[in-house]
Each structure stands twice: as C-alpha cells, then as structure tokens.
Symmetry: C2
C-alpha cells in the first residue's frame, strides 16, 4: 500500500500516466503536474481557493461559444499567448503576435494598390513594404493576408447584424517580383477585449483595463518559408505601452508619416492617403 503525502503524491500522479518513454506527451504532462503541485504547495492553497479556481474555469466554459473562446482570452490577458508567440519566433524573422478571434481563412483576393477601406471614413493610410527572407532576399509571390478593425475599433464581422459584410476590411495581397506590397486602408482604432465574462472579472480584480493598442493583423506566407502570424502597431498611439494582451513588440511598431497632396508615392493607389507607413516582413525557412 502506497502511503502518499503531499510530497510523494507528485511522483505518484506522474507515474499514474503510462505514456511512451521519452515522448513529448510524457514531458508535457509531467512538467505540468510538477508545476501544478509546486504551485499548490507554495501557496498552501485552501479548499475555498481551490474551488474558486475550478469554478472560474467552469464559468469560462459556460460563456464560451464557437465565436467566443474565453480560454484564449484568458491566455491572452495572462501573457500565455504572447509568450508562446515569442518562443516560436525564429531568429531573424519578424516577431509573432496574437492571431485574435476574427481571422477568416477565405478573405477576398486583392490587387496591389487596392483600397481596403472602400467608402469608410477615417484617416486613410498607405501600407507599404517588402517581404524578405532572413538573408534579405525579396520574396516574390508571398501572400499578405490582412484583417483589421475600422476607425471606431470594430471588425465588420462583429457588425453583421447591422448589415456589414464580414469580408470587409480584409484581403489577400500578393507581393510583386521585387517582393513589394502596398495598399490603402483606414487607420484602425483601439478596442476592448470582451470583459463581460470571467476574464473581465479577473481584469477588474487586478485593476486592469481591457484595451488593445490599435493594430493591423497579418499572416504572411511564402512557399518554402514558415508562416508568420503577427500584428503591426503605430508609434505614439494609445495603449502602446500597456496593451491588454501583451501583443506589442518594439519591432512591430510602425511610424506613420503624413502624405502631402501631390506627393510622389512611388506606386499607384486607388485612393489618396492621408498618411503612410512602411513595414518589412521577414520570413525564416521552413
């Protein structure tokens, strides 16, 4: 008969899982059990606190839907998502950042110079840059898959009931033979992550706000290279120093520059921009 106590229990739990020796699953499970038990011992967790944690997870489950994954949101506000992005960034490549909940994999195909902001009001910006590999070689035919909020901080997909098209403010551009991309769009505004659920309660308990710094989402793909999921932010904008989900990296901040009337942009665009920024995406080989 095993005589377990709070110190010997951890090994017993680890040994109860009979997973393949040396497997990734074994390592992930055992490391998790060690941290969970260490946490419990270090905090001398009470029954009430333990039940509080489990009921918090229960409540996260109850508010979740296929459109709202409260556990991803929880991961975001705890910096878990950002940490996984950081760990999985390849040396020399553009840093990764949050995918977020609004990605659609079938965004409309666009042509270089198109305007994503068709008919929308706000600050019109030109995005411009090059996709390169980590040795600096421009990548022709790379896909720039982008989506964003509008000038009120709302994604059209959130406003379908009010007649908005979910494919609006998103598109797939293909880089030209010099690896270049350019298009115009409306400058997005900051918005809050959903804070009417358990994660919102956690933010309130920690006197934290729910605001994200304004950003554009990107997934960059090129054959033979590792995809990059990232975001581009804008210098000196609100929440750039305290984004609620820790998405901002210094290397992902672009500088907006005013565009003068009649200024030579070097490329042709559908719509006259008020400002522009340049951003280079760098992909690492697969």
């Amino acid at each position: 008969m095993q005589s377990l106590n709070q110190f010997t229990l951890t090994e017993a739990v680890k040994e109860s899982f009979k997973t393949e020796e040396g497997s990734r699953l074994k390592f992930l499970l055992e490391t998790f059990i060690e941290h969970l038990h260490d946490y419990t011992r270090e905090t001398n967790l009470t029954h009430q606190e333990w039940m509080g944690v489990l009921n918090f997870l229960y409540d996260c489950g109850k508010i979740s839907t296929p459109e709202r994954h409260e556990f991803i949101l929880l991961s975001d506000v705890l910096g878990f998502s950002a940490l996984v992005d950081m760990i999985n960034t390849r040396g020399g490549a553009t840093e990764g950042s949050n995918l977020g909940p609004f990605y659609l994999d079938d965004a409309p195909v666009k042509n270089l110079g198109d305007d994503l902001a068709t008919g929308r009001e706000g600050v019109i910006v030109m995005a411009k840059g090059t996709v390169r590999d980590i040795l600096g070689k421009p990548l022709a035919g790379a896909i720039i898959d982008t989506w964003q909020a509008d000038a009120t901080g709302t994604y059209p997909i959130q406003e379908q009931e009010r007649g908005q098209d979910k494919y609006d403010l998103r598109g797939k551009f293909t880089t030209n033979e010099r690896g270049e991309y350019w298009y115009t769009t409306v400058l997005p505004k900051p918005y809050t992550v959903p804070y009417d659920g358990p994660v919102g309660d956690l933010l309130r308990a920690g006197n934290r706000h729910a605001w994200r710094a304004a950003h554009l989402h990107f997934i960059i793909r090129a054959a033979g290279y590792r995809d990059i999921t990232t975001e581009v932010f804008f210098a000196n904008t609100d929440y750039i120093d305290n984004d609620a989900v820790f998405g901002v990296r210094k290397s992902l901040i672009a500088a907006l520059k005013p565009v003068k009337k009649g200024q030579d942009l070097g490329v042709s665009v559908q719509r006259q921009p008020d400002a522009m920024f340049e951003f280079e995406f760098v992909l690492a080989p697969e």
Copy 2:
C-alpha cells in the same frame, strides 16, 4: 516603450495586475503567472500544443453541467484535489480526502444503530468508532454525515430516473456521550469516475483506468472543531493501490473483520452484520 521578450514578459504581466500590496490575491496571481510562464518556457510550447490545451479546457466547459463539474474531475485525476486535501489536514487530525460530486447537505437524521442499507442486498457491515479531539478526548454530540455507493458501485442519487430515492444510503448520526457512533450499511463497490468526456480522453491518453477504490464518504462536525471531509477505504480491496483520484491514504484504510452469528457486538443494531470495521475520527480545534 517597453521592449518585451520571453524573459521580461513575465514581470510585465505580473505588474499589469494592480492588486493590493501583500494581499493573498496578489500572491496567488503572481505565483500562478510565474509557474504558467516557466512551464511554457521549459517546454518550448508550440502554437499547436497551446491551442490543444485551450481547446481541452473549452471541451471541459462544454460537457460541464451543474451536476457534472468536469474541472473538479480534472483536478481529481491530476492529484490537485488530493494535494489540497493533504495540505489542509491539521496535524494530529484525521486526514482529509475527496468530497466527490454526490454530497447533499440535507441528509436524513438517523439514530445510532440504524441500518442505512434498508432492504438492500450485499455484504452488511457495521461501522463503529469514536470521534475524538487531537488530545484524545471523546466528542459527544459530534455529527457523522455519511454517504456512499451501493453494492453495485452506484449512488442512489444517480438512479433517480429508475425510482431510487436520492436520500437513500446517506444519513447524519450524532455521537453519544462517550463520543461513539455505530450503524450498519451495505459494503460499497468500486465505481468509475465519468470517462466519456475530455478527462476520460486524458485518462486514455495516459493508459490510466477510471476506477475508484470502494469507500464511504464522511464529513465530521463538532462545535469548536474544524470540519473534516474524508473517506474510509477497506484493506485489500480493488484499486486500493491505484485509486483514480488519489483519495486513498494509509490512515484512512479500515480492516473488515467477519462477524460470527451470535457474536456480542457491544452495541445494539437493527440489522445483523456480516462484517464490521472500527474507525476513529480525530478533529482539530478551529
């Protein structure tokens, strides 16, 4: 502008929670963030694994109902519940063990010597013992609140659709002036924890079974003393060495002894037992 990387991120997340200096909440949150981030760094968690963890939690939420708390079950099979029970056991007092999902706080009041197993078939056992404080003083008027499965490993509350009474096989006894309790009941059989959900998948991935060793549940209460929630197991029974939820402690195992016909039991009982066991409960002051 903060330039966060995978090492500086952890402090930034901790600092984002503006909780009261020196508070329990601050300590619990910061220690959790440290362990979560350490885990992520130590395992170099991939995006796919990260999403797997979050979707596992999502699925646990989806299968949960007020009657089925999959997160408690998850806590049970990871030894988290057992560890909290161990940590919160007071020195000299009876060790704590799982509350489980079937407790009702309004079990019927019973008299010493009553039979909990009314009309049920199986091995009839007499439970007998004393409730004491940690100095050995018998506690008169202590409440023995007990509930259990039947001889098929089923709780009547699980079989209400088949006409069973949810208050069956449970009751509250009060110790006499010498701190003694005794009653008869049917010997419970082992049963499985629910394994048709995400936690069942986890058990299968770890080649683990879902069986609990046979047990009786108890909450012991006495004015001025700390409640004890625990279980009593039986020596040499199935799964005593590998209970699926790590509930067994050496000190919680009782020895069953046969009862001969006409044997003097020292107390009067409603029903002739086939066997008996003695168990002493020890309470620590509040």
